[in-house]
């Protein structure tokens, strides 16, 4: 027994070290690489929004469809949704979690499609990027306002895992989307006696009314 274990250790030890050593390029270069990728990612998303959302004569239904596709492709929807639900995520049943994530996506898509479209044709300037803890980068941008007033300061928190790169949070003039939603949802759940099902009821009503909305 003992021999066999030692044998395995001798055999696997170096292999394990090899595996650990391989995917680690020098730290600095890796971080800088992510910052460049994050900038390019935000820039191309702005371009995509411009192309797919601002065409004249596109129905709101069609814009919602396109925006949903963009949202799922570029935002870490599940991570954001879990963060927003906070400690109540664990209290929710599997079914509740699944329905919550689907309603959360609906809410995001229907409430941001009009705002996104209003800004989509405007210049987005990348000011700087900053590496954060973990594989995350904050991209600092300013976006021109439709009415020409002082540009809006928008920070994009971007995370990467391997080749995948996604938006984790958007901070507009100091206000974080995920923090604000977390306060909003948390307040509803507390009013419903700590039940996630109470939040789901409210979300169903809200998303239905936002879908039916003609937009503005």
């Amino acid at each position: 027994m003992l021999n066999r274990r030692r044998f395995l250790a001798v055999l696997l030890g170096p292999a394990f070290i090899l595996v650990l050593a391989l995917p680690l390029p020098p730290g600095g270069a890796f971080a800088a690489g992510l910052e460049v990728r994050a900038e390019a990612f935000i820039q191309s998303m702005a371009q995509e929004a411009l192309e797919s959302l601002t065409q004249q004569g596109t129905s709101r239904e069609e814009r919602i469809k396109r925006f949903r596709k963009m949202f799922n492709a570029h935002f870490a929807v599940r991570s954001i949704g879990k963060f927003v639900l906070g400690r109540y995520w664990r209290k929710a049943s599997k079914d509740e979690q699944a329905e919550y994530l689907s309603l959360f996506e609906d809410l995001m898509v229907t409430s941001y499609v009009d705002r996104f479209q209003r800004y989509a044709g405007k210049n987005l300037n990348i000011l700087k990027t900053r590496a954060e803890k973990g594989s995350a980068v904050t991209v600092f941008t300013e976006i021109a306002r439709p009415d020409g007033a002082r540009p809006v300061q928008v920070l994009w928190r971007v995370g990467a895992r391997g080749e995948i790169i996604k938006i984790l949070d958007v901070v507009v003039e100091g206000a974080s989307m995920s923090q604000t939603l977390r306060s909003d949802f948390g307040s509803i759940i507390r009013q419903k006696g700590g039940r996630v099902s109470g939040l789901l009821e409210e979300l169903r009503v809200k998303t239905a009314s936002l879908k039916a909305d003609a937009g503005n």
Partner: protein
Amino acid sequence: MSWHPAHGRHVRVSTLVLVVFLVLAGGCATMPDPGDPEAVAEFNKVNDPAEPANRAIFELNRGLDTAFLKPVATFYRDVIPQFFQDRINDALDNLRAPVIFLNDILQGELDRALATAARFMVNSTIGILGVIDIATEMGLEGHDEDFGQTLAVWGMPEGPYVVLPLFGPSNPRDTIGIVVDFLVDPFNLWASNSNRDFAVFARTGSRAVDLRAIHMEALDSLEKTSLDYYATLRSLYRQRRADEISNGKGSANLPAPGLGQAPIDDGQPPPSDGIKTSEKTLRIR
């Protein structure tokens, strides 16, 4: 519409009585079960012990807004040409400069104080009493400061969330700030010393309409898309205030969802969250 001072005082007294009544009737937020540490932590983080009373005042403010301010601001936004709206906004901004200057100094921000002073001189002269913000055109951009921010820089905690009648979202620190800024404002001093109280009312009234018009779109979409408008504004007020206190430098440090593993999955934000977000605040500018 004519404004009778006596009538105005009457309105204020009855508002006050109503507010006191609502506060007494609303009482305090129910304490969480002390045996549930997560619920207690959440209660402390929300930091709104007078929530029922605050919600009552919030609804009162919303009613007043719907009845008076919003219709006037909508008319102003839709009928007055953008050019004139911008001139009015610039002039009202310029009137704030002395208070901003004072707060720059009190915060030890001498460069910003100099910028504020230079802007005030340029805009009040070449800019024709502030009507045209020439300084920004010259590359001297403006910023805002107030005594609430100064107190924060001095280390005073914000205290619990409070909704003030008419003024809206606030906290004890920012309430002191509003009062002090009002008392030291040279324009207000001049008006009260020369029996021109109407000038203060005119300025406050036009500022209210100006800001309401500017934030119309943002507030409308928040009201429409949020589940709990009150809680959303409470969170935004704190976040905005924290951003203003740090002069826009702190906002990137917010806790955020992570990709993949860890702190977010248990729903407990990183430890820094408590400090950062409790400082966080929608301030209407």
